[in-house]
């Protein structure tokens, strides 16, 4: 599904609430180790998706449907995103946003490191400053969001 699963996880959180309604309400003041493990895995799948999508995008030549369907990195990237969404939804069922959000924001860091490795992107001081601000901002948003 979306490349933006993690950024929208507050709303996904609302979704998983709706979907799991009827279950004996989840704990709101406790984040299970399993949730933390799941969310860490979700950042790995999320970052892998970005790298695969980029390789896939590079290989796109015009609006050629067969070319897009047989574009292995592109399809692989979407598959990683699907896995990412499932992991985020599962993780959010057992944890507080204030703890899980800062971990989700690590995806930005993984993508920066992987882009340097695979695409020779330069990580400059402004980029590091920007990423630091974004990770801090996302952490604050997590802290301010209902869990």
């Amino acid at each position: 599904m979306p490349h933006i699963a993690a950024p929208c996880s507050a709303m996904i959180d609302g979704l998983s609430d709706s979907v799991s309604q009827g279950e004996s309400g989840r704990s709101t003041h406790y984040t299970s180790l399993a949730s933390i493990g799941l969310i860490v895995l979700s950042t790995v799948s999320g970052a892998a998706a970005q790298i695969l999508l980029r390789f896939g995008a590079d290989a796109i030549e015009g609006a050629n449907l067969i070319g897009i369907i047989t574009n292995v990195p592109l399809i692989g990237g979407y598959a990683c995103l699907a896995v990412n969404v499932v992991l985020v939804v599962l993780a959010l069922r057992g944890g507080q946003l204030s703890i899980l959000y800062p971990i989700v924001a690590l995806t930005f860091v993984w993508v920066a490191i992987l882009s340097q490795v695979y695409f020779q992107d330069v990580i400059s001081i402004p980029k590091i400053a920007g990423l630091t601000l974004i990770v801090a901002g996302v952490s604050f948003i997590g802290a301010g969001s209902r869990s």
Partner: protein, 117 residues
């Protein structure tokens, strides 16, 4: 590698549309929970899925050219949109943490945009 402004705009647009798609899914889920007629909630879900597709096409086109280290962080603007939709459509109030977070994310995106060249 320079990142074209058009790529940045495509990723920003994809993030905006994606956050609207997510809000539509939530509208659909809420309607389903309130046991509204299938057509009511399914139409919201269908609109959300359709917007996701549009969003993902824009996103892939957006990251085709330029640095992923500049383009991917632009996705964090979805957090900002998500907070606005939550406030406007789902009556989740702002608080100090959210406002601080929102400001930091926007400042961060600004820095990343400036890191060009």
């Amino acid at each position: 590698m320079t990142t074209p402004a058009s790529s940045i705009l495509l990723v920003l647009a994809a993030s905006l549309l994606g956050s609207i798609a997510m809000a539509l899914l939530k509208v659909g889920a809420d309607r389903q929970r309130r046991t509204q007629p299938p057509l009511r909630w399914l139409s919201a879900v269908a609109a959300g899925v359709a917007l996701f597709l549009v969003s993902s096409v824009l996103y892939v086109l957006g990251i085709k050219d330029g640095s992923l280290t500049i383009l991917y962080p632009m996705v964090s603007t979805s957090y900002v949109w998500g907070l606005l939709w939550s406030r406007w459509f789902f009556d989740e109030p702002f608080n100090r943490n959210k406002i601080v977070g929102l400001t930091l994310v926007i400042a961060g995106v600004f820095f990343i945009g400036l890191s060009q060249g």
